[in-house]
Symmetry: C2
Subunit: 336 residues, 2 copies
């Protein structure tokens, strides 16, 4: 094991789309755990749309990453040395370890993972924060119930693909929205949605009316922008719109608000935001339920794994914003 | 009594702000009630922001007023002749009688009013649909509870002024937003709000942070536009935004959507639309409660009454859109 820990630190706050120069790669000695601490050799780093928000100093649900700090990221790794009673060398763990090769942890927010049930990247996908976000946004915030017509945007993406599958398991009719015929094929054939609308092919609103003639009971929004406005015109009475993300807007300097928001009044509908951190005390039961679906083959986790070094992180993150990924995007660190 | 019934009929669908030429005044014989019908001599016509929406043929919660049809309006009047078992000549009634001097009704949606308790215009204000809208939007949709910090836009207007008063009665801290120092004075001194922000005086966002340092638990929105965006930046965690109207946008050809809607995610907040018609079966109990507050002097109904003829209706309606009214705007028909 190298004694050098390479790290990706935030160098500048981007305006618009981030550039590679917004981070810098630095090196330091691999830390040595003190009492109550352990070190982790990181094997897989999560790439998430929310990271774009963490780079900005606008008011948000957590403080931004400080300039000069290691870029915040969920990651998977193996405990290499431990002075912590709850973790031992060799344990596979998930935590907010950051974009670096080695992390020092006191165990807060760290979960052990069972690599005999699923490969490590799956714990960044369907059996990780991604899956938990889909689970609680759909079932708690969105109150999905059997018979609902559910529309999911970003349907080929990490959260959307899991949300649609859970909706199917719960007896909903599920229509995805994704970009391009290949993604739409995956959404229907691999993730089992009832239909998928290719927003690049044209009139989303007309396609929605065709696929959801009785209106949309629940819209799970990951994208914002024009697609949100289109879905707002197709709501059923009493519909719920769950705001889980707005990837189309994260790099815009001027956000496009939903001009059709008065359809909430017309349809007596609601639009509600959710944050996964509020559900921390319910993670275990949700993960147990999802692990059961995964073991039964009812829940598919698809990860798109890019092999590289921490220096490749900026390029991997940008894949999220040009629609290049399907499923959960993961940077696998070579040699880990 | 004249045997001629003058009526205001929709002549054109406006683009932007309506003009007087969007209606025409016509005359016909006063109708004679058939079996199960009665006629009403109308004394007071309600002027409501929602009327602007009824003139457009965009999808909405009720069909638009047809070109050539009598303009839809709530109104108060006296039964003049009746072949209906439930109504007798001399009864004071409220109904969707339209902008005309005489209406023929089969009794559907008509309520008798008690003019010994309050003057007829009050039944278009706090003790009518206006008050009911405030009541259910605040208490049912908004779930106002003691201790909440409540912000009401259009606070000097018909619905806003009642909403704020009910919030005070329920033990909330209530901050109004209105246009100009005189309206703000009325909001605080007559309607009893704890404070009122004059949006014409400048920085609404800064004023909100000052008056609601702990954040806004419930925002009762009647205006939309920039003020909605300002309030979204000041929400407390778990806040509820009730969409009751969007008067700033009704005459815009391009609606401004709330660009700060992602604060719903940051604050785990919701935005919900409401329509009073859904509560029809609960009107009696709500009106009884509001009548009690009115009798006790805890609920003030302020009406701004313009005397004229049905031909004055267009000018009265336009007063709503240039901020000329305080309280409930009513057209009182001369000679009625």
């Amino acid at each position: 094991m190298s004694s050098i820990n390479r790290q990706v630190r935030l160098a500048a706050r981007p305006s618009g789309l981030p550039r590679a120069t917004d981070w810098e790669v630095t090196s330091e000695e691999v830390p040595v755990p003190g009492s109550g601490e352990f070190t982790v050799a990181i094997s897989h780093v999560s790439a998430d749309p929310a990271m774009r928000g963490w780079m900005s100093d606008r008011p948000s649900y957590i403080p931004p990453v400080e300039i000069g700090a290691v870029m915040r990221a969920g990651a998977i790794g193996v405990v290499t040395a431990s002075e912590h009673p709850g973790f031992a060398a060799g344990d596979h763990v998930y935590g907010m370890f950051g974009v670096q090769e080695h992390a020092l942890s006191d165990g807060r927010g760290v979960m052990k993972i069972d690599t005999s049930m699923a490969a490590p990247p799956t714990y960044l996908g369907a059996l990780g924060m991604t899956g938990l976000t889909a689970y609680f946004a759909l079932l708690d915030t969105g109150k999905a119930k059997a018979g609902d017509t559910v529309v999911v945007s970003g349907a080929a993406g990490a959260v959307g693909s899991v949300a649609g599958q859970i909706a199917k398991i719960k007896g909903c009719r599920v229509i995805g929205i994704a970009g391009g015929p290949e993604k739409c094929r995956v959404v229907v054939e691999e993730f089992g949605f009832d239909a998928c609308i290719d927003y690049r092919a044209g009139n989303v609103r007309r396609a929605l009316r065709e696929h959801a003639p009785g209106g949309v009971d629940l819209y799970f929004d990951n994208v914002g922008g024009e697609i949100l406005d289109d879905v707002l015109t197709c709501l059923a009475r009493g519909a719920r719109v769950v705001i889980c993300g707005a990837i189309s807007q994260y790099n815009e300097t001027t956000v496009r608000g939903p001009a059709n928001y008065m359809m909430l009044l017309v349809m007596r509908a609601s639009m509600t935001g959710m944050l996964i951190f509020d559900y921390a005390d319910q993670y275990p039961q949700a993960l147990a339920e999802m692990a059961g679906w995964y073991a039964d083959g009812r829940l598919v986790s698809r990860e798109q794994i890019v092999h590289g070094t921490v220096a490749d992180f900026p390029g991997v993150l940008l894949m999220l914003f040009d629609g290049a990924n399907t499923g959960k995007l993961v940077l696998a660190l070579d040699g880990a």
